[in-house]
Amino acid sequence: MACLHDHNCEDHDCSSDWSLYKHIDLPKVSALNEAVSGSVKSVFKAWEQRLDSSMQGYLESNEGDPELLVFIPFTSDVKIKSISVVGGADGTSPSKMRAFLNRDGIDFSDAQSMQPVQEWDLVENFQGLLEFQTRYSRFQGVGNLTLHFPENFGAETTQIHYIGLRGEATQLKRDVVATIVYELMPNPSDHKTRAESGGGLSHWSEQ
């Protein structure tokens, strides 16, 4: 589902809508099959800079292999309304996008075999005005987002200049088990039985 920006951007500030990039945990963003390690971080920027890739570069896949996998963790749980992707020219734009939510450590074999939360057929979007809406009910409470781009429009590599996310950020953090303490030796005080703690019927009571 693609929506065109059909209002005049002078009226309101579009960039405020696309401000979810501020909630991305940028140091932990990673990508698989990127030609230059770390170049994925350059695609998350303000909406005004979506077409300007001369400063930080862009994300490009390895030669001869158009697949890309982008892992986006957030600093707090977000709700994602729509996604916008600006690709490269000459067929280097991705043609398909598959999204996975709240999963760690997906690699290509996982991505190809798993069922995505949602899948889109992309079109070439050089101006960055196209956005792809999500099934909003499924995209509530997103701790991290994994985007898989399996194909492009026929070029040897896939280029992505900008990924924009629209939605809301909640202040909540996803429920994660932060610290686990393993017992090396049992501590009897932690393992009192009911009889010892004085509760419940005792079997030794006179009958």
Partner: protein, 402 residues
Amino acid sequence: MVLEATMICIDNSEWMRNGDYAPARFQAQADAVNLICGAKTQSNPENTVGVLTMAGKGVRVLVTPTSDLGKILACMHGLEIGGEMNLAAGIQVAQLALKHRQNKKQQQRIIVFAGSPVKHDKKLLEAIGRKLKKNSVSLDIVDFGEEDDGKPEKLEALLSAVNNNDSSHIVHVPAGPNALSDVLISTPIFTGDGEGGSGFAAAAAAAAAAGGVSGFDFGVDPNLDPELALALRVSMEEERARQEAAAKRAAEEASRQEKGEQPSNSQDTTMTDRGSIMAPEAGNKRNDLMDDETALLEQALAMSMDDPKSGHSADSDMSEATAVDQDLAFALQMSVQDNVNDSATQTEMTKALGDQSFVSSILASLPGVDPNDPSVKDLLASLQGQSEPKEEEKKPPNEEEK
């Protein structure tokens, strides 16, 4: 201090029996693996290392990535050698093991020991390399053992397919005196990418250098362990002194024994067998011809003590002298005897000569010596007694003969 999960692929094929790496290829490989495990776990406590074997009945994972060094070292024991290495399967299984690592934040790394010939073709290896690169797995290759033609090129092709930003390395280790682990210590496999060497690697390198050919005395670095170095040096000096004293004592003993048995030694045996005759000594002897025999002997002894090994074999001189003068011959022969009977073999020699049957058999084997010759018989008889009067007896027969 990169957070890393490493899988080490060991080659335990039949090619590992070869002994061109001390002590055998397999042991050298095992040492290197132990060293790598230690280095990885020390550089970052959360690092994990796993081990699998590529040959044998098939690729087998011995231990999944764990940070417990004891478990890893334990599984290295009792590994059997056999079968043929399957490099492609090994790498793929390693990749799978890394995929299921517990801490997804760790970087993935595979270290492969390629000792046998590589039977896969280049294309397959490059495809494997590209798959590794796509999943951002780094690969370190240790090329040792069999120098198959085409093997270095195949491994280099694999490396270039995998290599992403210099995170993968290859090391070619030829057979030689250096241990495999020592060679690896200085490579990026140990030192990591641009870290310049962790503490472990640096300490291990220092120990290896000290113990190896680069030669501190006694193999102990005086900087690392001055007391040990001092103790070793002192004990070496003491040993040297003790040996010199022992030598001196034995020499004195030899001189005493020499005087006791002057006439009775079978010089023929020694003359032909040993070579250290002294030409200068012969010359000096000529000066003393007129002296008493004992004095002559003493001088011979003195010469031998001063200069035990300086002469060349001068058999020709000897025979010449024999022809000229019997006394001279005797003296020369005895000087030979002195040289031969140095402190270590003194007693053994006398015992051997005392054994008459032994002496007669040797005499029989010598050219130009007729055992039935009366002089020779007398000589043999005199061996029993070993006293001065015997010497006089012998001399007249000798003079008669010549």
